[in-house]
Symmetry: C2
Subunit: 393 residues, 2 copies
């Protein structure tokens, strides 16, 4: 399970672009990504802003068929991946404010690119410090979902620009014993907090026993019906759980965002598969967002992998992308640079694909409800047919 020298590989698509002849490139890209995404190019003013402020911008479009009875329901989603700005040794306020400035600039570019719904990366207003297992000072980054400074900062941007912003933060539940959650706050176009969702599945992987900080969410699988479609958020590790994706679909989601923080090595072979599979299986769009860069912490920590202690967890490999219900996907953002990926989608594609494939009609939910009821019993007996040769391995 060795990993590549992550920091040296930038943008997967650029590698293919620069080595394959045009006709071959087109075939390879179709085999990799399907054939329903077009590169729209980036307007000059957005390109200029991004160049000056040093982040990438890509804009793609997913097509849908015209229908007689429904007009197209065109939405532009924007997903943002970014490094932290200041060293983790700086004051908490400085670190937060630097991130606010960075994100304001990237959201401004998104607005210039006519984005309607923006989702930021997991715990976007802080370094991803959970590898340290230190409570101090990192728990100080936690805030009220409804009234914290980060929500207030984004409410202004939402209202001014009439956009929906999804803001994944560390939540301090002030009314319930000051406990902490990993939460995505949904801010509506009028600047109000439409609601929130708490991360349903908590990793216990190597450095990342996140249950050191917060537990499994208690907010179910809410779908937020907005001016730009029915949206949901599957936070980070929840993407490994098909049942989590399923429930957002059964609750009517048309776009599911997956704000994440995951490093090269272990998870990278999974990254391009899981959110895309969820889009296929559930007939909605998925937006997979991963932070980028390497974050260095003040104190040493170990990673439960037998290696010497260190101060950096690993390289967050970015590679954020959008996938459609028909199995097509956009290329990814860079593995090493900040970026904004915009996708223009027609939400009508969701139902169109469902009509073609019929996965929802053929999924036999009654069978599986019954099966799972059995499986959860402590004395559940697996359906196993044993070889009579006596040679069972």
């Amino acid at each position: 399970m060795a990993s590549i020298k992550s920091e040296n590989v930038d943008d997967f698509d650029s590698i293919l672009d620069s080595h394959l002849p045009a006709n071959v490139l087109s075939e390879v890209k179709q085999l990799l990504y399907g054939s329903n995404t077009r590169n729209l190019g980036v307007p000059d003013d957005v390109l200029l802003k991004a160049a000056v402020e040093q982040f990438d911008v890509k804009i793609f479009k997913f097509d849908a068929k015209k229908e007689e009875l429904r007009p197209p329901r065109i939405v532009r989603v924007g997903i943002i991946q970014n490094k932290i700005v200041l060293p983790t040794t700086d004051s908490i306020l400085s670190q937060k404010n630097a991130l606010y400035n960075r994100i304001e600039s990237m959201i401004t570019a998104a607005v210039m690119a006519k984005v309607n719904v923006i989702c930021l990366q997991e715990a976007w207003n802080m370094p991803f410090a959970f590898c340290t297992r230190e409570k101090h000072p990192w728990c100080e980054f936690a805030e009220s979902a409804e009234n914290g400074p980060t929500t207030k900062f984004l409410q202004k941007l939402s209202k001014e620009n009439r956009i929906v912003i999804i803001s994944p933060i560390l939540e301090r539940d002030e009314c319930k014993g000051d406990i902490i959650w990993n939460t995505a706050v949904v801010i509506d176009t009028d600047g109000t907090v439409l609601g929130k969702h708490r991360k349903n599945h908590i990793p216990r992987v190597g450095d990342f026993n996140e249950s050191t900080y917060y537990m499994e969410g208690n907010t179910g699988h809410p779908v937020f019906q907005t001016a730009f479609g029915k949206i949901a958020i599957n936070i980070c590790y929840g993407r490994h759980h098909p049942l989590n994706w399923l429930m957002f679909g059964l609750n009517g989601a048309e776009i599911v965002f997956n704000p994440s923080a995951t490093i090269a090595g272990l998870s990278e072979p999974l990254w391009s598969i899981e959110a895309r599979n969820a889009a296929i299986a559930n007939g909605y769009f998925t937006c997979a967002i991963n932070r980028v860069g390497t974050e260095v912490f003040p104190n040493e920590f170990t990673s439960g992998d037998g290696k010497p202690s260190h101060k950096a967890f690993g390289h967050f490999y970015g590679s954020s992308y959008v996938a459609g219900p028909d199995g097509s996907r956009t290329p990814g953002l860079s593995r090493i640079r900040d970026g904004l990926l915009v996708a223009e989608i027609d939400l009508n594609l969701c139902r169109q694909v469902k009509d073609v494939w019929g996965f929802q009609m053929t999924q036999r939910l009654e069978l599986y409800a019954k099966s799972l009821n059995e499986v959860i019993k402590p004395d559940y007996e697996q359906q196993i047919i044993k070889s009579l040769t006596g040679l069972n391995l």
Copy 2:
């Protein structure tokens, strides 16, 4: 949703191999496939046989860590993709016998490559005639799972070579009103029929309303405990259903075969995603098998897509592959040629990956059993939070 000119693109990996410089190729392959599969090369005698009989052979290995208490549990799985041999206008007996000969030759090569478990493609002993909607003569291909000529033919090969063979056929249920099923028969190393599994999810897609011929299976999610591990079969369209994959996992499967028949265009962007995602989510190996070639039928039929009638359904694009629980996968077989893909796997990798990732420990089955019980009620109310702006799209 346009498709590429399928018949012109042969082997995805060969394209990359022939255009990318070695160092770049290695990085690209690792990003695409993970880094846990090694190409073992093919022994000369197998290579010669394959060359003479015109099919491809590839052999790969997935590594696992050494453990103190369990010895490695090494198994070689072989998956076979093939064209039909004779025109569909020939007699049924001739068509079947020609396929028996072809498959005997390919199984012989697999045995020479030391394979322990072989899985053939869906409905392997016939053309995939369900696009025609004709009952005659195609229903005549259906046979008893336990006593039919196809099972008898394979029982001999199983016993002689001490291998497990999975044989997906059209089953005639002679004791239950002569109805037809889409069934995989598992033949044990001693030549006995260990059991069978009937396809759980039946497509109703364009030409392929397979429920014209057979209905949803009634055999649950059996896992067959053999001399070479606990194996299960998810037939074709069942790969689109995460709950189907899940149940095989919950019943203890270590290898799940997915014998399929699917054509270029609609399904190809899904092909590389679904079986691999299932391996990741459920902590087992998956073997995705697709038939190959274009099959021409005697009479015209339409495809429910507004296009003129025709006699060929489309191009079956092969591309069979094996995926591991750690998200790694082998390259695929050709998109146009017959092939045998062998993977040497250590079943211990399944539990090792589960221990690392903890997906099974964090999957909250109780929550989802409860949720699905609610969802299946006709009056289930989706968990939707509506924007108060009155602008819901």
